[in-house]
C-alpha cells in the first residue's frame, strides 16, 4: 500500500476531473483497523457516486486498492457488505469531522444496499490501502502529495470538491475567452467579462450580417451590370493575379498558396464568363 500507486493509477483513470485519491482525501495514509476501513469505504462510495468499474475480491492488496479506485462506483454496493458496527463507526466519525449530512448519507447508502455481495476482505485490504486515520486526526494539514485545495474550513465531501473542480474549469475557460476578446484582460469580475464577451460576439455577428449585405451589393452589381467592369476575359488572369497579390501581401504566403489563388482565379473566370454572356 504505497500512496503513489493509489494516487496516480487508481483515480485518475476513473475520474475525468483528474482528481486523485489523495486529492480527495487529504489525510495521512496509515494502516489501521477494519472498522475504519469500512468507514473509508463508505465515504468513498458515497463520494464517487456512480461510475462503472469492476474488481475481484480475491486480488492481493495493492491491486485491490487500484481496482477499487478505478471502480469507485462499485463501492456503494460494496458498502452494503459492511456490518452494523462499521456503519455506526462511520456515522460517528463523520459526525466528528465531516458534516452531519454526509454521515447520514453514508448511513442511508449502507442500509440501502444491504443485499449486496459481502466482500469484506476486499474492503479490508482496499481500505487499508486507502487512508483510514480520519477519526484520529480530523483536521491535520495536508501533506506534500495532497493537491486538494481544501483548507481548514472548507468542506471535503465530494460534492464540494466536484463543485470546486467545476469552478476551476470555468475560470480556466474564462481566461481563454478573455484572451480572445480584445481589451477584456483588464476587466475584473466574471459577470463583466461575460458582458464583454457577449458584446463582442454580438458585434461580430452584426459585422457578418453587414458584410453579407455589402457582399451582396457588390456581387449583384458585378453580375447584373457587366458594362461597368471594362475588362475582357483575356486580361482577367493577369488582373486577378495582381489583385490577389496585393491583398494577400500582408498575409502568409502559405495561406495564399493553399488553393486560394486558384479559387480567386476560378471566381474571376466564372464572373467574367457570366459577364460576357
Amino acid at each position: 500500500m504505497d500512496p503513489p500507486l493509489v494516487n496516480e493509477s487508481s483515480f485518475s483513470a476513473a475520474n475525468p476531473s483528474s482528481y486523485s485519491l489523495a486529492e480527495i482525501w487529504p489525510y495521512p495514509i496509515n494502516g489501521s483497523g477494519a472498522a475504519e476501513v469500512g468507514l473509508r469505504m463508505g465515504n468513498m462510495g458515497h463520494g464517487f457516486g456512480e461510475s462503472s468499474g469492476h474488481r475481484d475480491g480475491s486480488a492481493e492488496e495493492s491491486t485491490v486498492t487500484e481496482q477499487s479506485g478505478g471502480g469507485c462506483g462499485r463501492k456503494r454496493r460494496d458498502l452494503s457488505s459492511e456490518d452494523e458496527s462499521s456503519k455506526i463507526v462511520s456515522t460517528t466519525s463523520s459526525a466528528n469531522d465531516l458534516n452531519d449530512s454526509n454521515g447520514k448519507r453514508i448511513k442511508i447508502s449502507g442500509s440501502k444496499n444491504e443485499n449486496g455481495g459481502s466482500k469484506t476482505e476486499v474492503e479490508a485490504s482496499s481500505a487499508a490501502g486507502s487512508k483510514p486515520a480520519e477519526s484520529s486526526k480530523p483536521s491535520e494539514p495536508p501533506k506534500d502529495y495532497i493537491h486538494v485545495r481544501a483548507r481548514r474550513g472548507q468542506a471535503t465531501d465530494s460534492h464540494s470538491l466536484a463543485e470546486r473542480a467545476r469552478r476551476e474549469k470555468i475560470s480556466e475557460r474564462m481566461k481563454i475567452l478573455q484572451d480572445l476578446v480584445p481589451g477584456c484582460n483588464k476587466v475584473i469580475g466574471k459577470a463583466l467579462v461575460l458582458d464583454e464577451i457577449i458584446n463582442y460576439i454580438q458585434s461580430l455577428q452584426r459585422q457578418v450580417e453587414f458584410l453579407s449585405m455589402k457582399l451582396e451589393a457588390v456581387n449583384s452589381r458585378m453580375s447584373l451590370t457587366p458594362t461597368i467592369e471594362g475588362f475582357h476575359p483575356k486580361d482577367v488572369g493577369a488582373q486577378s493575379f495582381d489583385a490577389t497579390g496585393m491583398m494577400f501581401g500582408a498575409q502568409t504566403a502559405r495561406e495564399f498558396a493553399q488553393g486560394s489563388q486558384t479559387e480567386w482565379l476560378h471566381m474571376q473566370v466564372g464572373g467574367s464568363f457570366e459577364r460576357a454572356t
Binding site: 464577451i197 471594362g230 491583398m247 488553393g259
Partner: protein, 190 residues
C-alpha cells in the same frame, strides 16, 4: 486541444477552408436569378440573407470536417430546418422564420428565468453570471440547455471561428471593391 488546433498553430487551415466553401456558394448565389415578382429591396434583403446563411453554413462545414462542435451542428441543423420550412409553405414562412430569429420568444425567456432562479439557490455564488450566461446561450448556436462549462468551451471555439469568418469576408469584400474600382478607373481611362 481542439481550440489550439485552430488559431495559433495553423490559422490558415480553417480560413482557407471557409474561404473556399464560401466563394463557391457565393458563385452559386450569383447565378441564381432573382424572382421577378418581388421588389428590388426585398430581393436585396433576400439575397444578403442568403449570403449570410451561406457564410454560416460554410463556416460550420469548414469546422465540422475537423472537429465535431455543438455550435456548428446547430447551425447546420437550423439551416436545414429553415430550408424545409420554406419548402413546405413558400409564400409567407420565410419572413416569419426570420422574424422569429430576430426577436427571441419573450414568453419562453421568462420561463427560462424562472428555471434559473431555482438554480440560483443552489449556486448562489454565481448569481450575477446567470443572466449573462443566458444571454450567451442565446448568442451561441446550440447553446440552449448547455451547462456553463461546456458553454464557455463552445463560446471560445465559436468566437475564434467568428473572428476568422469576419476576416475572410472582409478580405473578400475588399478584393471585390478593389477590382471594381480598378476596372472602373480602367473604363474611365478607356
Amino acid at each position: 486541444m481542439k481550440l489550439i488546433q485552430i488559431s495559433p498553430s495553423n490559422p490558415s487551415s480553417l480560413k482557407s477552408r471557409f474561404r473556399r466553401r464560401f466563394l463557391r456558394s457565393l458563385m452559386k448565389i450569383k447565378t441564381v436569378l432573382p424572382t421577378s415578382s418581388s421588389s428590388p429591396r426585398r430581393i436585396f434583403l433576400q439575397r444578403s440573407r442568403r449570403i449570410k446563411t451561406a457564410a454560416d453554413k460554410s463556416l460550420a462545414l469548414a469546422v465540422g470536417s475537423s472537429s465535431k462542435r455543438a455550435w456548428s451542428r446547430a447551425i447546420l441543423w437550423k439551416i436545414q430546418y429553415k430550408a424545409k420550412a420554406i419548402r413546405r409553405h413558400r409564400p409567407y414562412s420565410f419572413r416569419r422564420i426570420c422574424g422569429s430569429n430576430n426577436r427571441p420568444n419573450i414568453g419562453n425567456k421568462r420561463f427560462n428565468d424562472k428555471k434559473k432562479r431555482k438554480k440560483k439557490k443552489r449556486h448562489d455564488d454565481e448569481e450575477e453570471e446567470i443572466g449573462e450566461a443566458d444571454q450567451l446561450r442565446e448568442l451561441v448556436p446550440g447553446g440552449e440547455g448547455m451547462d456553463l462549462c461546456s458553454l464557455l468551451d463552445e463560446t471560445a471555439h465559436y468566437l475564434k471561428c467568428l473572428i476568422a469568418q469576419v476576416q475572410v469576408m472582409r478580405s473578400i469584400d475588399q478584393f471585390y471593391s478593389q477590382s471594381q474600382s480598378q476596372s472602373q478607373s480602367q473604363s474611365h481611362l478607356n
